[in-house]
Symmetry: C2
Subunit: 343 residues, 2 copies
DNA sequence: AAATAAGATGATGGGTTTTGAGGTGTATTG
DNA sequence: CAATACACCTCAAAACCCATCATCTTATTT
C-alpha cells in the first residue's frame, strides 16, 4: 500500500501553486502566509481558501492564519507626570514587544489630563478605526455621550482604573475603590494605635470616579471605626508632585496634630518630599501606585504602605474584556506593599 | 523506489512508505526520524502524521518525536485538615474542569502529612509515568534523594509552596517566605502600636522549609525593629486545628502580656476559636491562607490579617514551570487581606 | 473632476533554509 | 554471502523569506 501517498512527490503544492489558484502573485501569498501587513482582507481570504483547497496548510496552521487577525486596540491615558500612569505606558510597550505580531496591536495615546472634552474627542477619533478602546475615564456627561456613540459604532470600550459610572455595555477593569478607601482608613487607624488627631485626605481630582470612591470609602470607615480622629480634607493635587508638595507643606503647618495622610491619587512624591523635609516621617502615609519614588519612600520609612494595582494584570484583563465582551469583570485584587514585601 | 504495493499488508512499513505517503524524500524522513535539524516544522508534522497513519512508530517513539501532547501532571499535597491545602485541591479540580481535554491532565494525590518516607515513595511511584510532578516539599534527605532520582528519569519536578532547599534542577513556585515572615513581624509590631509584651510564633512544622523561613524572617525583624517585644515560641501545631487550639489555650494561660500571634502554618481555626472563647480578640493575630474560616475570623475581628498566595496563580505557575523548564521562577506575590479588602 | 494621498499588489533580487538525490558504512537476516 | 533497511553525510537545486521599489487602486480633498 505504501506506494503513492496523497501527493506524489513531484506534485506537492507550493506557494506558486497557491498563488496561481488564488490569482495573485507570489509576493501576496508570502505576505499572507507570513502575516505581513498590506493585504486586503478579501485577498487574504482568497489566498487562504486556495491554500486550503490545495491542502497546502495543515489544520493547525490554517487555524492560526485563518481567523483571529490581531485586534487593534487603543489605550487612552491621561498625560502628565503621574509616575504610575507612566509606568503603565511603559508596561504596555513592554507587552507589545513581548507578544510581537501575535498579540493585539496596542497603541497608547496620552490625553490632556482632566479634560473631558479632550478625552471625548480622542474617543471619537478612534471609533471605527480601532477594534477596541481602553480608557482611563473622566466622569463627565461629555465623555459619557462620546462613549455611548463610539459603542454604537461597534468599537468596544472598556474603562480602566477609573470608570464612567453606570453606562451599560462599558465594562470596567479596576479596583473596588470604595473597599480600597476603607482599607486605607482601616490601616491608618490601626497603625496610629488609636491616637486622637487629624487624618488628611489628599484628593486627586474629583473628575475621577476612582478617586471619589476612595474618598467615600475612607470617610465612611473613619466615621465608623475611628470617631476620635477627624478628617481634614485637602485641596485637589491633580496628581501633580509640585502641587502636592505645596499643599502638604501648608497642611503640616496648619494641622499640628496630624497623624496620617491618605493620598487617593498619584504623584505621592511631592508629599513624601514635604514630610521628609519637615522631619515628619512619623506621620502615617499611604498612597497609590508602586513606582520608583514610592518604593524609595517606603524603604526609607516616609511612606508606610503602597496600594497598587498590578499594571500587567490590568492590561491583561482589559485586553481580555475587549476580546470577549462577555467577560464578567470582577474587580482587580488590591496589592498592598509594606517595606518588607516589596517585589 | 516503489517498495510498497507488491508486498503483503503484513510486511512492516518502511521509511520509503512513510516518505511516499508524506510526499517527501527519504532524506527528509530520515532527518525527522533521527531528529536532525534542517526540517521545516510543517514538513516535520507531515512526516510524523504519515508515520503515525502507517503505524510505523511505536507509542513511545511517537511520544518522543511528536510534540506537546497534553502533559500528564501529578500534584502531591499533604493530607490532613489544613483548609488552604484543601482549597488548593479544589481549585485544581475546578481548573481541570475549566480547561477540559485541552489543558494538561492534572491528578492530585494527598500524601500522609509530615512523612518524608511517604512523600519520597509517592515521588518514585509517579516517576516515568507522569511527565511532571508538582509537590509540596518536605525538607529531608530521603525526599531530596528521591527527587534527584526522579529528575534523572526525565520526569520534571517543581516544588510548590514549600521547597526542598538547594537542589539544582528543581524550580520552586511559592512566596519569598523570609520576606513574608518579616512582613508579618512588621505588621504585628506596627499594629500593636509599640506596646511592650510577648508575641507568639506558632510553628507549623519544621519539616517545611516555608515554615522555617517564615519563622526566621519573623524573628529577624522582631529583633531588629521591636526589641521591646519578646518572642514566645510555641510548640508545633502540625497544621492541625485541634492541636493549635490546645496550644493556644495554654499560651493564653501562661503568657498574660500576650500582644500578638503569628501562625506560620495553616489551620488557624483552632487559634481563633481559642481567642474567641477566651474573649481575647484584642490580641493581634496574623495567619496564612484565605479560606472560609480565616475570612470569617477576619470579618469578626479575631484575626487582623490573612497572608495568602493565590491558589490559581500558584497552579498556573507550577504548570508553566513543568511545561517549560527554562521558566525562571520569581517568587509569587504575597496577598494581604484585612477586613476591608476581602474578595 | 482633477489632484493627491494612502493602500494594495506585483515584480524582482539577494540571502537563507529546506529539500532531494545520492554515496558510504553498518547491522541484520535469510 | 547477498540483499535489505537504515543511519549519517555531502552537495546542489528548489523553495522560501524578506526587503525594496514600481505600479495600480481606491478613497479623500480641492
Amino acid at each position: 500500500m505504501g506506494s503513492g501517498g496523497e501527493y506524489p512527490a513531484s506534485e506537492r503544492p507550493q506557494q506558486a501553486d497557491v498563488a496561481a489558484r488564488a490569482g495573485v502573485s507570489l509576493a501576496t501569498v508570502d505576505r499572507v502566509l507570513n502575516r505581513r501587513k498590506g493585504v486586503k482582507e478579501r485577498t487574504r481570504q482568497r489566498v487562504l481558501e486556495a491554500a486550503r483547497e490545495l491542502g497546502f496548510l495543515s489544520e493547525t496552521e490554517e487555524a492560526r492564519l485563518g481567523n483571529a487577525r490581531p485586534l487593534n486596540i487603543v489605550v487612552l491615558l491621561p498625560a502628565g507626570s503621574n509616575p504610575y500612569l507612566r509606568l503603565l505606558g511603559e508596561r504596555l510597550r513592554a507587552r507589545l514587544e513581548r507578544t510581537g505580531a501575535d498579540g493585539p496591536a496596542l497603541r497608547c495615546f496620552f490625553i490632556e489630563s482632566f479634560s473631558a472634552q479632550a478625552l471625548a474627542e480622542a474617543l471619537r477619533r478612534n471609533a471605527g478605526w480601532a477594534d477596541g478602546i481602553a480608557f482611563f475615564a473622566i466622569e463627565h456627561p461629555v465623555v459619557r455621550e462620546a462613549a455611548a456613540e463610539v459603542a454604537a459604532t461597534g468599537t468596544r470600550l472598556v474603562s480602566i482604573v477609573s470608570d464612567l459610572g453606570s453606562v451599560p455595555g462599558i465594562p470596567h477593569v479596576g479596583l473596588d475603590n470604595r473597599a480600597v478607601g476603607r482599607t486605607a482608613g482601616l490601616l491608618i487607624g490601626r497603625l496610629s494605635g488609636g491616637r486622637a488627631g487629624a487624618v488628611a485626605l489628599v484628593a486627586g481630582s474629583r473628575h475621577y470616579r476612582a478617586h471619589s470612591e476612595r474618598e467615600a470609602g475612607f470617610l465612611s470607615i473613619q466615621e465608623e471605626l475611628f470617631p476620635q480622629m477627624r478628617v481634614h480634607g485637602m485641596r485637589e493635587g491633580h496628581d501633580d508632585a509640585a502641587e502636592n508638595y505645596r499643599h502638604t507643606l501648608a497642611l503640616l503647618d496648619q494641622v499640628p496634630d496630624l497623624v496620617g495622610i491618605y493620598n487617593v491619587g498619584g504623584s505621592s512624591g511631592g508629599i513624601t518630599r514635604a514630610l521628609r523635609e519637615q522631619g515628619r516621617q512619623e506621620v502615617i502615609f499611604i498612597g497609590h501606585g508602586l513606582t520608583q519614588d514610592t518604593r524609595k519612600a517606603v524603604l526609607e520609612g516616609t511612606m508606610d504602605a503602597i496600594f497598587d494595582q498590578d499594571p500587567d494584570t490590568l492590561l491583561d484583563r482589559a485586553v481580555a474584556c475587549l476580546n470577549d465582551p462577555a467577560t464578567t469583570a470582577r474587580p482587580l485584587k488590591l496589592d498592598i506593599y509594606f517595606s518588607e514585601n516589596l517585589p
